[in-house]
Amino acid sequence: MALITYREALNQALFEEMRRDPSVLVCGEDVALYEGSFKVTKGLLKEFGAKRVIDTPVSEGAIIGMATGAAMGGLRPVAELMTVNFVYLALDQICNHLALMRYMFGGQARLPVTIRMPGGGGHQLGSQHSHSLEVLLVHTPGLKVVFASAPANAKALLKAAIRDDSPVIFLEHEGLYNSLGEVPESLEPGVIGRAELMREGLDVTLVAYGAMRSVALEAAEMLAQQGIEAEVIDLLTLRPWDKETVTDSVARTHRAVVVAESPPVCGMGAEVAANIYEVVYDELDAPVERVSGADVPLPYARKLEQACIPHADDVVRAAHRTLGRA
């Protein structure tokens, strides 16, 4: 085991997959010479050269289209969008092309494309650089959507995404790049579509993903001090998400809180809650609670921005509500 950062874990995954498979290439804005705006692609240009580590113009649509075309031509591209908000510029290529093509061509297109993009709030980056837009992509059939939340799963899931023969959206959180975690020296690819049970408990299930994983764990710690044992699940994959792990847990705890950084309307919280109601309604002792990001564009001012992001005490209060302790 080695204690490394989330950034280093992602970087290692890219190195290992590029060494393993010569058809893997990295492309995006400032990924080569500048080594990535968050330095995730550090050192790649030096080892693999400009043929495989490609600086592109500021052309988000064409970056994704190029990756898609290259995949049709037999390559395995990893495209980076500098910030999640820039995905809006590329949505036509992602949702109208990449996601649909295999289906609309009757299964004849093979599109092993990974699209990495960092998002999330907490760094005063303002409305156009801090959003949580995973739901846009989760809503699109044909995509798989992964949200890495810690160094070990970041490395394992990025390796899995790159090896997957279908398009994978790989979400990273800007607030996690410096976070540390133990990562085995030799790590097999993770399983896309499988959630991780982080902590066991019989009183309430906390479902989270991305940066909300650590918020949920912190809340579970606070609840434990009050004698409430929370089960914590990190979804890790948002499409296809691991419904069974969640409903199995709720069948044991009879209460659930879903924590997401993005705004609540048609969000992952709504999706997870709806599934709980559909599958284990009879098991519930209380309505499912949602803790979500504020339903506004992220403001710049520090305190206002913090007010938009769920915190552990918000999760604790929601857990209390499910337990009838308002």
Partner: protein, 323 residues
């Protein structure tokens, strides 16, 4: 090979191919009117010389990608007419199992990699195919068809810039039929020469009479040679005309009868026939033989389509992900 057209057999083949496309579209219109084909359906009638000329010098391993007016690309690459017709019927033995339809034909066996219905959306895909060719040093090229309307899209300019910047083997073929649905080039593009718009990206461009097969193939031959020799992309603006509306649901009220008649006088099919008859001994009966061959091929295509049925509902969720 421009000078190689001293060969009657090849010219007769050109006639056959263009006639096949024209007659296919005529049959499609009939089947559409009978309600056996649905949705949006865009016919290539009038523009045959553009695709036939552009594709004439291509090799089987080259990639072709294009817009939703895609029946011609599919057929001229050698796709089976029956599988295209079955696709339009929405049937399981169509070239995309009936999941694509008229606008989304696809045939990996001929390296025709699809018709796309977001204007200019396929242009960055052509860049990526070009990148894969250069990456693997394959010596192939990509030929990308799109209309005049595409030249006003943002992603089109991104794609042309990147193809030129990375010196990728892409031949851009702009079918300038003067109208993006009902809005003319004059009313939508600040620069009426679409070749001039492409020149900004530092690639060789040509403007050609797209109603003339011989001119079209000659210009395409040069562009293809340029791309294949590793010099980066080349651009062709082919001026042409579609005889029908934008799609089957367009009555075409924005164009005058005189304008349509003017263009029909320059029809590429009688033109190639006249060339053969001028340069060689060729009786009308030889062309009538080819016309009969076309009719047989299309009768068979329709029969093949009629015999099939839609994919069963149980297979609705197939083909979304690689299993």
């Amino acid at each position: 090979m421009g000078g190689a057209f001293v060969n009657k057999r090849e010219l007769m083949d050109v006639y056959y191919r263009m006639k096949l496309v024209r007659s296919f579209e005529t049959r499609v219109a009939e089947e559409y009117a009978r309600g056996r084909i649905g949705g949006f359906c865009h016919l290539y009638s009038g523009e045959e010389a553009v695709a036939a000329g552009a594709l004439w010098h291509l090799r089987p391993e080259d990639y072709v990608i294009g817009s939703y007016r895609d029946h011609a690309y599919y057929l001229l690459r050698g796709g089976a007419p029956g599988k295209a017709m079955a696709e339009l019927f929405g049937h399981a033995d169509g070239c995309c199992k009936g999941k694509g339809g008229s606008m989304h034909l696809f045939d990996p066996s001929t390296n025709f990699l699809g018709g796309y219905a977001i204007v200019a959306g396929m242009c960055p895909l052509a860049v990526g195919l070009g990148l894969s060719i250069k990456y693997k040093n394959e010596g192939r090229i990509v030929l990308c068809f799109f209309g005049d309307g595409a030249t006003n899209q943002g992603v089109y300019h991104e794609a042309l810039n990147m193809a030129a910047l990375f010196e990728l083997p892409v031949v851009w073929v702009c079918e300038n039929n003067y109208y993006a649905i009902g809005t003319s080039v004059a009313r939508s593009s600040a620069v009426e020469s679409l070749a001039n718009k492409a020149k900004a990206y530092g690639m060789p461009t040509s403007t050609v009479d797209g109603m003339d097969f011989l001119k079209m193939q000659s210009v395409a031959e040069r562009a293809i040679a340029h791309a294949r020799s590793g010099n980066g992309p080349a651009f062709i603006e082919a001026k042409c005309y579609r005889y029908r509306g934008h799609s089957m649901s367009d009555p075409g009220t924005y164009r005058s009868k005189e304008e349509i008649e003017h263009w029909k006088q320059r029809d590429p099919i009688p033109r190639i026939k006249a060339v053969v008859q001028h340069d060689f001994e060729a009786g009308d009966d030889e062309f009538e033989d080819l016309d009969r061959k076309v009719k047989v091929a299309l009768d068979q295509a329709v029969a093949f389509a009629e015999a099939g049925d839609e994919l069963s509902r149980e297979r609705l969720y197939e083909d979304l992900y690689v299993q």
